[in-house]
């Protein structure tokens, strides 16, 4: 396969649950090193789309290529090993493990300790553990959590820190593509700004492509290079933030038919409920 400039290519991807079509023949590409967003009203199929990429669901039809190779139907752990990391819409940390342990779990696929080595506690395993710990602490610092928090039970961390820990854990999987599912949900403006900055840093410093699902339009407009809009499983618009902002169909999807008719385009649409 020739190396393409697109890290992810989805063609006519469809997901049906019995009679319900959650995602309907969506075409989607992400350029390497870009920050893209997927938006749409509730129930548009965004998380389902994410879940197909990450292996939680298998597409009913269509092709899904990551780095030129098909990932449709792979199991979640296989997808992660290929280089896609993710966070979850509702935080799914390992609540009763410490922050450090959560990040270390993220590194699971990148470590090599095998059963025998663990049982005999070989030098290799010991060294790998030590360096993994150091790397994990560095990641915690990187996302702004700091090493004092490392040994706290993750369930007891404040909400904003939990979100950041999820990002650290996803980064620990050493991804080429990072999927963030509503990373700023429930955050106040300061936390949101900090996270936005972090996302940019991740792309700039670590050369990771980022795909966001977001409802916070400020964040979306601010950070995305390209936005894709889904509504009821269909892609209704795609392009730069300005393009999407003024697109009639998008406004209609979010605000209802009346809003478009009254020429509400041109102004930023209100944050979707």
């Amino acid at each position: 396969m020739a190396a393409t400039n697109n890290i992810l290519e989805a063609a006519a991807v469809t997901k049906q649950f019995g009679g319900l079509t959650a995602v309907n023949s969506v075409d989607f590409v992400i350029g390497r090193g870009s920050i893209c967003s997927v938006i749409g009203p509730n129930g548009a199929g965004k998380t389902t789309f994410f879940n197909m990429i990450t292996g939680v669901y298998t597409p009913t039809s269509g092709t899904l290529l990551f780095d030129g190779k098909s990932i449709a139907g792979l199991k979640p752990d296989q997808v992660t090993t290929s280089g896609i990391g993710r966070t979850f819409q509702n935080i799914r940390l390992f609540g009763n493990m410490t922050a450090l342990e959560n990040v270390l779990v993220g590194m699971h696929a990148r470590l090599n300790a095998n059963l025998f080595g663990i049982l005999i506690r070989s030098k290799k395993v010991k060294a790998e553990e030590a360096s993994a710990r150091r790397a994990a602490l560095d990641l915690l610092d990187y996302v702004g959590l700091g090493s004092e928090r490392a040994n706290e039970i993750s369930k007891s961390l404040p909400y904003g820190d939990q979100r950041r820990l999820e990002v650290a854990r996803a980064l620990a999987t050493n991804p080429k593509l990072l999927l963030l599912d509503e990373p700023t949900a429930g955050m106040n403006p300061q936390e949101t700004a900090a996270l936005t900055k972090l996302i940019r840093q991740i792309r700039d410093e670590r050369d990771i492509t980022v795909l966001l699902i977001e409802h916070d339009m400020k964040v979306v407009m601010d950070i995305s290079e390209r936005i894709t809009v889904l509504d009821r499983g269909i892609k209704i618009a795609e392009g730069s933030p300005e393009l999407v902002r003024t697109n009639e169909q998008v406004i209609e999807a979010y605000l209802g038919r009346g809003a478009a008719a009254h020429g509400k385009g041109g102004r930023r649409p209100a944050t979707a409920t």
Binding site: P76, D77, R86, N96, V105, R110, L115, L157, T173, D181
Partner: protein
């Protein structure tokens, strides 16, 4: 009253109960138990923080405990012995022995109390542990090593029961890997115990050789590992059908296997394999059927005599060695990439998979590692009782071991050991003794004739069941749970500090 006195009262009460039920010889053992108990607890709950405080509190606790022991001996002498129509030794002897026991308790208690407050760190540069835990463990180690000699000296006769209890504790440690770390509810753990035992039985006895005409008697030291490996392999085999199952269904399937395996062992004593008219084997006695396979060769080690079963001390030390080895291996597993994968999988299987954890492999490894230690236990047990009998491997074994893990606090090795000791000793040591005591009481006193009908032994299982139910109602996290486990199990009750996640 201060913590120290409270601790002392509790330790002493325990000792009192033991001394009253058992003969006077047990009081010296009680002195040690009281001392350890008092010293450990006083150290943990002391109000002060210097070594002097530790010593003082431990001394008080052990002193109170010891005083209760002396009191117990007097009660025994003056009240109980006449009641059960036994002639007690001379009073002065009883008093002296009681004082001796109390003194032992105080000395040991103080030693533990002091050890708790040792400062600094010891060990290699790569693994520095606090001196206080190192010292405490060293003291415990001393007592563990000294026990058999004491048992021999005062002719206590508990060592056989202690050994059997320790086997079950080994099993509990293995089950802890499956249930506690990986969160896979296994109700059929006895199957692996059986596999370990029968492997040894088949490879280390005359059973197969006698029928097939050649000699197949491998050394115990080799068969021990083969048995563990066989158990691990069966862990893989029996684990693989359970992979897509969750919770209840997983429990039922493992229960099923736990029943099928002993039934198979019980019934493969008239094996006839025919293909058409060609008879492969006829009436071959593979597993010894209901009477099992017996005898089994004991281990051979120069300098130690395993064959003479009147002196069980070599067995004791062998088992302690196996347990220590298992503890080391289990700790290594827990603190490794695999251990973290197990815990992540237990918390949230999907999130774990999304972090690159191969769930199939991780579950299979949990089953096989858990089974591995059970194989050790089975192998030792078969050699120890010199036989593999199908009746030793029924559902109650699986439940008892599970009970130990739960009582001890899932996922906590120390807790499992403590829980195991409590259950096993209550079941094998105390309950029969209470029964005997009541019998003696009834025989010696016609007015208490109705007691003869009341046999606590009959209530064993009911009591077990009661303990299980009560545990789940009052303290599902066990005796010495991890803080995290406690948090998990009381989830529905306490409000979480962090803002509830937004439901998308």
């Amino acid at each position: 009253m201060s913590n120290a006195v409270k601790v002392g009262l509790w330790s002493g009460l325990l000792g009192l109960f033991i001394v009253v039920m058992f003969s006077g010889r047990s009081i010296l053992m009680c002195g040690i138990i009281t001392g350890v108990f008092a010293g450990l607890l006083a150290g943990a709950r002391t109000d002060g923080s210097t070594m002097r405080d530790g010593i003082r509190d431990a001394a008080i606790a052990a002193g109170v405990g010891g005083a209760l022991l002396l009191l117990a001996n007097l009660i025994r002498h003056l009240l109980i012995d006449p009641l059960v129509a036994q002639t007690p030794p001379p009073l002065i002897d009883d008093i002296l022995v009681g004082l001796l026991a109390a003194a032992i308790a105080v000395v040991i208690g103080v030693a533990f109390g002091a050890a708790h407050f040792l400062n600094g760190r010891v060990g290699l540069a790569s693994a520095r542990v606090p001196a206080s835990s190192a010292a405490t463990w060293a003291l415990l180690g001393l007592i563990i090593i000294a026990y058999p000699f004491l048992d021999q000296a005062i002719q206590l006769g508990w060592i056989g029961i202690i050994i059997t209890s320790l086997v079950f504790i080994l099993l509990a440690m293995g089950l802890n890997v499956v249930v506690g770390y990986a969160g896979l509810l296994d109700l059929g753990y006895a199957a692996f115990f059986a596999i370990g035992a029968y492997t040894v039985a088949l490879l280390s006895s005359d059973h197969l050789g006698g029928q097939l005409g050649f000699d197949l008697r491998l050394s115990f030291w080799l068969v021990l590992w083969i048995a563990a490996a066989m158990a691990a392999i069966f862990g893989l085999i029996l684990g693989s059908p359970t992979l897509p199952l969750r919770g209840d269904y997983l429990a039922i399937v493992t229960l099923g296997f736990g029943e099928i395996v002993p039934i198979v062992f019980r019934n493969l004593d008239r094996l006839t394999i025919k293909i058409g008219d060609w008879v492969l084997v006829k009436n071959f006695n593979l597993t010894g059927g209901e009477p099992g396979i017996s005898p089994i060769d004991p281990p051979v080690l120069p300098g130690m005599n395993f064959a003479d079963r009147t002196d069980q001390r070599p067995w004791y030390f062998l088992l302690i060695a196996i347990i220590i080895l298992s503890m080391i291996l289990i700790n290594r597993l827990r603190d490794s990439r695999l251990g973290r994968a197990w815990m992540a999988m237990r918390e949230d299987e999907l999130a774990a998979a999304s972090m690159g954890i191969n769930i199939v492999q991780t579950k299979l490894l949990a089953f096989s590692m858990g089974a591995f230690f059970s194989g050790f236990g089975g192998a030792f047990f078969a050699a120890f009782v010199s036989g593999a009998f199908p009746s030793s491997f029924d559902f109650s074994v699986s439940v008892i071991v599970l009970c130990m893990v739960i009582l001890g606090g899932l996922g906590n090795v120390t807790g499992v050991i403590v829980g195991g000791l409590i259950i096993e000793l209550s079941d094998r040591l105390f309950l029969p003794q209470v029964s005997l005591f009541l019998q003696d009481l009834a025989k010696a006193n016609p007015t208490l004739e109705w007691l003869q009908r009341f046999d606590p032994n009959l209530y064993r299982f009911g009591l077990f069941g009661l303990v299980l139910v009560m545990m789940m109602q009052l303290r599902p996290e066990g005796l010495l749970p991890n803080a995290r486990r406690r948090a998990e199990l009381h989830e529905g009750e306490e409000p979480v500090e962090a803002v509830q996640s937004v439901v998308g």
